[in-house]
Symmetry: C2
Subunit: 117 residues, 2 copies
DNA sequence: CAGATATTTCACATTTGACTTATATAAGCG
DNA sequence: CGCTTATATAAGTCAAATGTGAAATATCTG
């Protein structure tokens, strides 16, 4: 689980939030980030590269544009890491949804290979 | 949400995993981390301080010992941040559990104040 | 083809953060 | 009390990460 290292940067988190809303071009992402964080265009490009290289985003080239989409896999890993702490705040659910939540967690755990933690 | 910065460090993540199993003294944590990561006692102490200072853990002094417990609040924030991506991997659930998962998310969202993202 | 535009890559400076060793604090214990 | 144990703090070092401006790459367009 080194997905957290990637998510440690606020700019990258923001980019992912933007991509959560759907595919965006590098330029569109850059416009928002520059306005919000005041960093240069290459800086944004480098963050996009980190997201690419670590499987958080996938690119589709179209002409001179690069369209980015979020790839949820590493985020799901983070979600799974959190499983061990869910008991701390999930205690106050009614019996049925607790049962289903539990089943969901087990399914999630079973369907994937254990990794570093 | 700068909780991710805290979780970006593998030693801190490991400490939290240990605390997820229940209260541990600084020394007990240190023993495991030193064995697994080969870092000094002060290094572990410094990580514990970061966890303390950022609300991931709470300490209880007893004699010369300091007992640490995990504080789930910041982890729940992380969980909430992930909400916006859950749709990407929760699509393949049967109708009932999907409904309940959705309800759970909404409850979670409603019961807490919006923060930075 | 010659710009213009969109994006990445490069080389470098600066900052941040995670270590280390040394030292402080504070109980327990003979 | 002085010694040992448990833990934290301080000061300094070093590497990794993040930013910058300049240049490269590739596509579109008149």
């Amino acid at each position: 689980m080194h997905a957290f290292d990637i998510l440690g940067d606020p700019v990258r988190r923001r980019i992912l939030e933007l991509l959560a809303g759907g595919e965006l071009s590098s330029g569109e992402v850059t416009a928002v980030i520059q306005r919000e964080h005041g960093i240069s265009q290459p800086a944004v490009s480098q963050h996009l590269k980190v997201l690419r290289d670590n499987g958080f985003a996938t690119v589709r080239a179209q002409g001179t544009r690069r369209f980015y989409v979020v790839n949820p896999a590493p985020l799901r890993e983070v979600d799974q890491w959190l499983d061990r702490f869910r008991g701390f705040w999930e205690q106050r659910l009614d019996a049925l949804s607790t049962e289903i939540a539990r089943g969901k967690r087990e399914r999630r755990a079973r369907d994937s290979h254990p990794t570093e933690s």
